[in-house]
Symmetry: C2
Subunit: 321 residues, 2 copies
């Protein structure tokens, strides 16, 4: 068995090779460039960890991990167009570097290559694997659509926001783990718990991300605090604040959202504290984390096999183990 | 067994139903709208005809036909963005109606739905079916890339142009037939001939299309003659003319390509005739048609089973049977 770090190293060394033919160059070179930008590779490593919960890593799992990472990069390449984003990981997006048309078509072919990876596995597993992969891919598109819809929406409920986060990010983490578990020979019941672990972990992680953007230590967090606030981004905290605030607080919050005054971030952060939105967010994160760990506990396999996944989840959520 | 017309009627009545859920509306409504624009549905009907070459139409073949038609519409929806096209079949494209972002994401989800259709078939056939589908999908992307590359290229050889046409249009016609044949229980050898028939037929049809745009009867052809010439579109005829013309003819051709004078079409058509490009195109079409019909002949099945496919191919190529 391997820790996340060990699997990440193994996976990266396997994945950092050319994935596409040379020609047509204008189709494949941008796809290759995009993959070379790197990334956290959490999803493919989750796939490997899902397998290792139940046994030695199978050759098929490496193929699924590639399919997942290619799919994820396909979504990012198209998201960059939709978000009009020129930078990703400090480098030019394909959209900015080669134009929208290239980003569309290179993204398309990357998705097709993901399906080619899937088709390399043991045919007996193909139908359930393809079923989960397709369902997840569709949900990720739905999540991206909701995210775009919410940008233009005046009011988004907490329930709607959680649904969007589930679709846009959690289901792919969950499916990555479950696909590995499937190949590792997990029972249906264990697969469900693996998926539940991933889905709840993903939501907890997003709540934490929204929280840290407001209250994180910039040194540790690696980002400037308040970025979401400056962009009026709908987050767990803003949505809860809008639901909670009444009277003068509500008026002040709405006034601030309509402005870009210099101390907007400080003023909104104070409001969040007055409204106890910071505490609420930590509690909500805790609830989802608890559900995630409960699912991990309920997987029927010796605890030793759960060690590294538990360790990594605790690290992700910055919990003491 | 059924004629093309009969199968088209059957297929259309089955296909003209909602294909997507209601929500998120901004994702699925544009996809539904795009399918409602109709189309010739040649590819899914070819899939049914590929099956009927070898036996009764299987339930799986209907699913493959849907997968093929969804895939084709996905490519059209994305092509409309790349071509900056506002109209398709006389109606607004999704790109013009809902914007590029919607056309990207609704197209993406349509491709994923195509894979969902594939996954509904008998698992035993899934691997070969997915293999051919993936290979074809990748080739169609490559063809679209070459087509875009050629628009900006000063010189395109006949060989390169044929390669582009093969990838962009022929392989999908060929694969549609072969996927149906696969489900119909065709041997590997028969599958190869089915594919060869479709691939050569597709090229012959494109040569004819390029020819008719220059020399067709506007009444029968349904388009204004010379559209390709006005847009300086690289076609079989222009490419051959550029390869063949020398001296004064060459100079005149290049001068005309650099202008948009009123009698450009007439002058280029005269040049084509002087250079015998019209006869050459008919001969080339004939060569590909002959190859197609040779493949049809070589399929090991009673001739009666080939009747409707032969009839339809002759109709497509406007040949007397």
């Amino acid at each position: 068995m391997h820790s996340f770090e060990e699997l990440l190293k193994l996976y990266t060394s396997k994945f950092d090779v050319p994935h596409f033919p040379d020609q047509p160059e204008n189709l494949y070179e941008p796809a290759e460039y995009f993959l070379s930008l790197g990334g956290k590779r959490i999803r493919p490593v989750f796939c490997l960890m899902g397998n290792e919960l139940f046994g030695e890593i199978e050759a098929d799992t490496w193929k699924l991990a590639d399919a997942i990472e290619l799919f994820h990069n396909f979504t990012l390449m198209h998201d960059d167009i939709m978000d009009d984003a020129s930078l990703r990981r400090g480098k030019q997006t394909v959209y900015a570097r080669n134009g929208a048309n290239t980003a569309i078509l290179s993204g398309d072919v990357m998705l097709i290559c993901a399906y080619e990876c899937l088709n390399g596995i043991n045919p007996e597993l193909l139908q359930p694997v393809l079923g989960l992969f397709n369902k997840t891919a569709r949900e990720v598109c739905e999540g991206q659509q909701l995210d775009m819809d919410f940008e233009n929406a005046k009011y988004v409920s907490l329930e709607e926001y959680i649904k969007m986060i589930k679709l846009k990010t959690s289901v792919l983490l969950a499916a990555s783990l479950e696909l590995g578990a499937l190949v590792g020979g997990a029972t249906k019941n264990n697969c469900n718990h693996v998926y539940g672990f991933g889905r709840n972990l993903g939501i907890a992680f997003q709540i934490q991300d929204d929280y840290l953007d407001c209250f994180g230590d910039p040194e540790k967090f690696g980002k400037i605090v308040g970025g979401d606030i400056r962009r009026n981004k709908k987050t767990f905290l803003l949505i809860k604040a809008l639901e909670t605030a009444k009277g003068a607080q509500k008026a002040e919050l709405e006034r601030l959202l309509g402005n870009n005054e210099e101390d907007k971030v400080e003023k909104i952060l104070s409001l969040y504290k007055e409204l106890n939105v910071d505490k609420w967010a930590k509690e909500l994160e805790q609830q989802y984390a608890d559900r995630a760990f409960k699912h991990l506990d309920d997987i029927v396999v010796v605890s030793a096999r759960k060690k590294y996944l538990k360790e990594f989840a605790e690290y992700l959520l910055q919990r003491e183990s």
